[in-house]
């Protein structure tokens, strides 16, 4: 009676065990790279907007404060997007015939809102509150990066939970003086972070909130 398996099956079996292990590692590596890469996180991907609004121009060239447009950042969970009226407070006088600004004028004329594309989009199961962070000395640029260098805004951080929790465990590494919160050029950790960090944490009464329910309500 003939053998069912050829003698080469022995080596084939051993090789396939090793290959299965390698394939498992490769799959995990591929899944991790996909998850951490900009395809999934959209980090460094500039988003198209109905009007190509340039933060670089308005912040760096014109020197407009963040709060001129994002008015509710100190009082609300949501930083706020300016109503068309805010745009028109300048652009009814400046660049009144610019083709680029037609959607803004059309919105003001027709009363129909401009639909901006959200760049920083937390999942719906995460609660985030801007005002507590801003009022406890976490600056805009800590999370949003150098917006004054972005013609179209993109994310600089993946907004993953690990990233949130890193700072919630060690707020002293990212806290800055309150009067520097809206200073886009201020860098954290500061050169003297080890010295001022713990002092500011004590001064502002910052607690390390790492309960699940802090963010997942």
């Amino acid at each position: 009676m003939a053998q069912i398996f050829h003698s080469s099956s022995n080596s084939l079996a051993k090789v396939s065990i090793a290959a299965a292990g390698l394939a498992a590692c490769a799959t995990l590596w591929a899944a991790y790279s996909l998850n951490a890469g900009s395809f999934t996180t959209a980090v460094d991907v500039a988003r198209n907007q109905p009007v190509p609004f340039s933060h670089k121009h308005h912040v760096a060239d014109d020197g407009i404060d963040c709060r001129y447009c994002h008015t509710s950042v100190e009082t609300s969970a949501f930083a706020g997007l300016p109503p068309t009226e805010t745009c028109m407070s300048c652009h009814s006088q400046l660049w009144t015939n610019a083709e680029m600004l037609e959607p803004v004028r059309a919105s003001y004329r027709t009363g129909k809102s401009i639909a901006w594309t959200r760049v920083h989009d937390l999942p719906d199961f995460v609660y985030f509150n801007h005002n507590i962070h801003v009022n406890k000395g976490i600056g805009c640029s800590t999370c949003h990066g150098r917006v004054d260098r972005m013609p179209l805004v993109y994310k600089v951080k993946p907004l993953y939970m690990q990233w949130c929790v890193d700072c919630h465990r060690h707020p002293e590494r990212q806290v800055r003086p309150r009067d520097e919160v809206f200073n886009i050029a201020y860098e954290t950790p500061a050169p003297n972070q080890d010295e001022i960090g713990p002092k500011l944490v004590a001064l502002y009464g910052i607690k390390s909130l790492t309960d699940c329910v802090t963010c997942h309500r």
Binding site: L34, F39, E85, I114, T117, P123
Partner: protein, 158 residues
């Protein structure tokens, strides 16, 4: 050496055509079950595949989301925060002051108005529940007068 032939049953030894057909069938007497589209076996196969693939559905890029700000933002409105409107509700000829919490124009919660001298912020179950009447499909969709639709302006002018 003589070729020895083993057999396990008398039927196999006789080797009738009927018996050979029975042996060649991998699942004798079960074929109707396998071909039935709604069988338990098929159900488990599909459920297993669904559960295995359910995890893969999480591996998606977040869909595009838009932010739609006001054209002319109402006064006192702070985006992200609710607005509270003072109103009153009459029960048996007695009015109680209420505060209605409103998120983006949608009333969500009714509590007593702490500045109302009679109730000092207290409410009863009917007042708490009255927020639901605002979403009642039978609620009038417009201002009516004597059964005919009337406008806010003409109604309040009378």
């Amino acid at each position: 050496m003589k070729d020895i032939k083993y057999w396990r049953s008398l039927e196999e030894l006789a080797s009738t055509a009927e018996f050979r057909a029975f042996v060649e069938d991998e699942f004798p007497n079960r074929t109707p079950d396998w071909n039935d589209p709604a069988s338990r076996r098929r159900f488990l196969t599909l459920m297993g595949a669904s559960v295995a693939l359910a995890g893969a559905s999480a591996c998606t890029v977040q869909p595009k989301e838009v932010i739609v700000p006001y054209v002319r933002q109402p006064e006192q409105f702070v985006s992200g925060n609710p607005l509270f409107y003072a109103t009153a509700m009459g029960v048996a000829g007695v009015s109680t002051g209420l505060l209605v919490e409103s998120h983006l124009g949608r009333p969500t919660k009714i509590e007593g108005n702490p500045q109302h001298p009679a109730s000092l912020g207290a409410t009863d179950a009917a007042m708490q529940a009255s927020v639901l009447t605002l979403y009642d499909p039978d609620r009038s969709q417009a201002v009516t007068r004597n059964g005919a639709i009337d406008g806010w302006a003409t109604s309040s002018a009378r």
